[in-house]
Amino acid sequence: MSEMLLLVEPQIPALRRYARALVPDRSAADDLVQDCLERAISRWHQWRKEGNPRAWLFSILHNLAMHRLAKARPVRQVALEDADESALSRPAQQPDRIEHRDLLRALDQLNEAQRSVLLLVGVEDLSYAEAARVLEVPIGTVMSRLSRAREKLAQIMEGTAVDTPATQPVLRRIK
């Protein structure tokens, strides 16, 4: 029990973050994490003792989330809508700042496969191999999805009104 506690508990904040970025509302996301933890506890013996169980936990959570999304297909809202406003948008200090809100909206426009790879690799710091295990695809697929997801996100952000860096030429669309 103490081993499980020691290895699993520190991962809960990251699991919550991943769930919240995938499913619309806070309580639904926490329900997923709770299901994930319950499964992890009852299947602890299945986890092969290799390093830390991070990727294993993420794959349980990911499967639950995909199952739920496939079943419910909810109208997506911007994730984190109930997060602290100040946490989502920072005062305009850095010239190259990106509105977090815009970014999260752009993330929501990606398909689930692209969104999950971007989150697992870019936010949760899973290795490409771990992400491949979680997503149950070959590592080559992870790489190509990641590349496409980043490009798609960039294109969406391009179309969004963001503060243009002052050091670069300003292009304005003229109606």
Binding site: M1, R17, A21, L37, L103, G122, A154
Partner: protein, 256 residues
Amino acid sequence: MTRPISEDDLQGYVDQVLEAARRAEVEDYLSSNPDEARRVERYRTHRAALRAALAPIAAEPLPPELNLVRMIESQRRPHREWTRWAAAAAVFLCIGGMAGWSMRGATDRGSHGIVALASEATDSYQVYAPDRVRPVEMDQTDRAGLIRWASARLGRPVSVPDLSASGYRFMGGRLVATAHGPAVLFMYDDDHGKRLVLFSREMTVDRNTPMSQHARDGLEGVAWSNQGVGYTLVGPSSSQLRPLADEVRRQVNSTL
């Protein structure tokens, strides 16, 4: 001659997972390919911004339903109880060859019956009896109010046994939630500060059982049920609870 730079290398550069030598080669490449450099820089910026945007979630305090300690406890407990009961059953079978014993009944009783009652009472003792600030919800100064409250919630008249002849004063009580509905807990103490708990709730199985002893975690108890109401008196080990339990049962039965 260096290996040509691939898209995988550029993604690896964005994620900062390249080995130092390869990173240097990618940097060389980017310095002479400004379009690619701009693209990669955009990815890096988005990656950092996404992390920053989602970071507050991981910093939130965990909600109570994600308390891992409690989750582990609640998954373990039924199992532990079942094995303990199975062990007890095995012993009984060896000794007496009791007729009519069935594992199905044993399992039922483990999760609903007198064994469950004993477990709930022991858990409650561990939570409330060591509490120096608020061991009871209502104290003995409002004995009548406590009796009214408990009787209303349990749906039957509840009485407070008097153990003062044995040196235990009534302190007060509270309601306790169990998987089998509300239970009432009365607490007593003696001049040395030793505390006893009398725990009672309605029984769906084991509705009439003789007194039996239970013990766990340095606590012991004497449990029984009568006409669908279960009782157990719990205290620290070697509290000589049996005569006290007899006294409780005598007083409770006299009010029926």
